[in-house]
């Protein structure tokens, strides 16, 4: 049983709203959205210092969703936090929308960084963290979410070396280790081996936790914040498509198409999980 019931509820709300967004569209990056839902709940529900009424507040914590295709899950979290009306979620990917498939800080209120070309988010996150440090905003943290497939990109490892060298302890990063990329299993496409050892050897304060446990994520962040020498890496052991039956039963499920009828049972089940979480 999880201690942080409110965060469990928030996670399931994000999950249901994200599925509804994508159901309305009939296709999308559902796998990688579902796998970061608990993380988004912890960040937007508790950990991040934010003010939805003042989204450009300079002292705020920032999130760089470097795996920008998880935008729909971020938008669900933002809408639930009140950054914009929930109805807007159904405009996802429509012409003229403020909610594009990949995160765009110039289009979406509350999005802190434009992403979508994989590998680049680590550098912009480093820049944000260094900028806050240069500006003396010592209470501001920058959060970064990398995909596991994204770590194929060389720029990730440039940033990994650099952030450690700069001792960017206010940079808290996650790898969504859901073990799938577009073409199939990560270990078949490009096996990166032991991610914990890799980031540890690059000089990061590295932990690996159950990425679907809000308690475990929260605890790992707190441990990371308690040290002041290294950037923090938390490898999230996740399931791609988690909580969406249709996605979990599809391989690979990076980007899938579905009819409203096909996804309806998955949404119903997720809503039942949400209702149970609210009662618990």
């Amino acid at each position: 049983m999880e201690k942080n019931k409110a965060l469990r509820v928030f996670a399931e709300e994000i999950r249901v709203e994200t599925m509804k967004e994508l159901a309305h569209l009939g296709f999308g990056h559902i796998g990688g959205c579902m796998s970061v839902v608990e993380l988004l709940s912890v960040l937007y529900g508790k950990e991040m210092r934010i003010d939805p009424k003042n989204p450009k507040w300079a002292e705020r914590d920032k999130l760089v969703m470097s795996k920008g295709h998880a935008g729909p899950a971020v938008y669900a979290a933002l809408a639930l936090k009140g950054y914009f009306p929930k109805e807007q979620l159904l405009t996802l990917n429509q012409a003229g929308t403020h909610l594009p498939s990949h995160c765009d800080r110039n289009l979406t209120v509350g999005v802190d960084m434009t992403t979508g070309s994989l590998g680049q988010g680590i550098s912009t996150a480093i820049g944000l963290a260094m900028g806050d440090r240069m500006m003396g905003r010592n209470d501001s943290y920058t959060y970064l979410v990398l995909g596991d497939g994204e770590c194929d990109e060389g720029q990730v490892w440039e940033g990994a070396a650099f952030a450690a060298h700069q001792m960017l302890d206010h940079l808290i990063a996650f790898v969504d280790w859901n073990k799938q990329q577009l073409d199939g299993a990560c270990e078949d496409v490009l096996d990166l081996g032991d991610m914990v050892q890799k980031f540890r050897s690059f000089g990061w304060y590295t932990q690996k936790v159950d990425g679907h446990s809000v308690d475990a994520i929260l605890e790992a962040i707190e441990k990371g914040k308690a040290q002041h020498e290294k950037p923090v890496m938390i490898i999230l052991d996740t399931v791609k498509g988690k909580g969406c039956e249709l996605a979990e039963n599809t391989f690979p499920c990076h980007h899938i198409k579905f009819t409203a009828e096909q996804i309806a049972p998955s949404i119903e089940k997720a809503e039942a999980v949400l209702a149970a979480a609210r009662k618990a």
């Binding site: 920032k62 434009t114 550098s123 806050d132 905003r137």
Partner: protein
């Protein structure tokens, strides 16, 4: 306003020294100014800045992609970053980072690429950018500038302190030929008129400005009146002034230390074809790679000479 010098001679100060000094002056009054480099601090002449502002100067190591992304992130935190590498590595190598992390992201970044074209000299073909401006030419929202001398460079750096956007500065590191009098003032995106003329307009940039002036003097000896225009902003290009001179002179010559494909020549011809179509001849690199050698020899090998500009001017006039 700007004033053109009467006499052409090499400046006593290196461009990089003025670049560094100007940034130091700005940084003393503006906490947002910061500098990044990719293991070329020694080459870019930025050591004094690094010494004076260690907290706002970052040597990223040899990782240009990361550096450009970091610059974009710094700007999102409110800083005003100037990021330098050799021009091919600051542009060609970082095309997607400049496109996505900077331009598409609407960041506020100044990218500085040094040793334009043949001035890369002894570093050879790998380091010799004939394509840096061309690589960025099709990126929306990126302003491309090649300052001519220390006076224009100093004005540019100071101007960019309070502009917002993505700017690429094509920077000659060593001594330029002085064109403008101290204290001259310019307008970003507007051509500087170096010399008036009626028969042909020579549109030049960078090290070719001085060569264009020499060519105009030689043409004058033959009774040909050549205007010389300094198009230091390649994008956005000053179409208005170009059209004015195309109409007045009836033909144009472009002169650049860059591939004419995707370079100033292409940009000028493209612009005039829509506003005032006149014969255009191009002096520049004819779509080939760079090679190693002393700059003076390379200028001859690639025909970046006053003599070539004179030939091109006569060819353009003949096509009227």
């Amino acid at each position: 306003m700007y004033t053109v010098k009467d006499k052409l001679e090499k400046e006593s100060k290196e461009m990089r020294a003025v670049y560094c000094q100007t940034l130091q002056e700005l940084a003393r009054e503006d906490d947002r100014i910061c500098v990044l480099d990719a293991d070329l601090v020694g080459s870019s002449g930025m050591k004094p800045f690094f010494n004076e502002f260690p907290d706002r100067a970052v040597d990223c190591g040899i990782q240009e992609n990361d550096m450009i992304g970091i610059a974009a992130g710094l700007s999102a935190a409110g800083m005003v970053p100037f990021a330098h590498s050799f021009a091919p590595f600051a542009t060609r190598r970082c095309a997607d980072q400049i496109f996505i992390s900077c331009a598409y992201n609407k960041a506020n970044v100044r990218i500085v690429g040094s040793d334009p074209g043949v001035t890369a000299a002894y570093n050879g073909g790998t380091h010799m950018p004939f394509e840096d401006m061309g690589v960025l030419m099709s990126f929306p929202g990126v302003t491309l500038v090649e300052p001519t001398d220390t006076v224009q460079l100093r004005w540019l750096v100071k101007t960019l302190q309070n502009e917002y956007g993505v700017y690429y500065i094509r920077l000659l590191r060593k001594n330029a030929v002085g064109i403008f009098e101290e204290g001259s003032d310019f307008e970003l995106g507007k051509i500087a008129r170096i010399r008036e003329g009626a028969d042909v307009a020579i549109v030049a940039s960078g090290i070719l400005v001085a060569e264009a002036v020499k060519a105009a003097e030689a043409l004058a000896q033959e009774g040909i009146s050549a205007a010389v225009l300094n198009a230091f902003t390649w994008k956005p290009l000053d179409g208005e002034t170009l059209a004015e001179y195309a109409a007045k002179c009836g033909c144009v010559v472009t002169a650049e230390n860059h591939n004419i494909v995707g370079g100033l020549g292409s940009a000028v011809a493209s612009c005039l074809s829509r506003t005032c179509p006149v014969p255009v001849e191009m002096v520049g690199i004819e779509d080939v790679f760079g090679q190693v050698g002393p700059e003076s020899e390379l200028r001859k090998i690639f025909d970046l000479t006053p003599e070539h500009i004179v030939r091109a001017a006569k060819a353009a006039i003949a096509r009227k």
